[in-house]
Symmetry: C2
Subunit: 111 residues, 2 copies
């Protein structure tokens, strides 16, 4: 339900998907989930924070790896249920060491 | 559950988020949801198809507006639960006429 043109709509689990894009290269680095607390921390600290659904805990991206993502800007989409976060990234986004998490090419053979 | 390194993991509703990026400009255009059928149609026709959660129906992007999105390539992320679809877009992605659906700037005042 859209109650305010500028407020995020969290889903039934209190989450909203956040797309993280490298502000310089334009590369889409990852998609993760934010709850209200991690979104507030992201805005207030200027570094991305997410909610880990598998670990059920707040997650400060780069806290362990050092690959902090510094926020350049955030945009909400037209139906207010997705966020685009443009960042400067201190290193690879993916836990595999790849720059982007989107590194599996997908085609008809994967259906 | 990851049963195959190249297969998408659909959520409990049978959906996976799909990020659509303009292949030329690098602009992130929209995020929408795909089920297995819309993903297969996207791959097989080379034009984006989604599942509309609000209308509960298959949705061929541009069928009404003419703003077809032609697929350049598709990538699955490392944990296989999000897709990045790079496209050539025949027109604006947003129903408002904006090029991208991500046109609401978001900051501390929106928390």
């Amino acid at each position: 339900m859209i109650d305010n043109p500028m407020r995020p709509c969290f889903d039934s689990q209190g989450l909203i998907p956040a797309i993280v894009q490298d502000a310089e290269s334009g590369l889409v680095l990852m998609m993760a989930w934010m709850n209200a607390e991690s979104l507030a921390l992201t805005v207030q600290t200027g570094e991305t924070h997410f909610w880990s659904r598998s670990r059920q805990e707040l997650w400060h991206k780069g806290a362990t790896s050092g690959n902090i993502q510094t926020v350049v800007d955030i945009h909400l989409d037209c139906d207010q249920d997705a966020l685009l976060v443009r960042v400067h990234s201190a290193g690879p986004a993916c836990h595999t060491g790849a720059v982007s998490c989107f590194h599996h090419s997908f085609g008809e053979e994967n259906l």
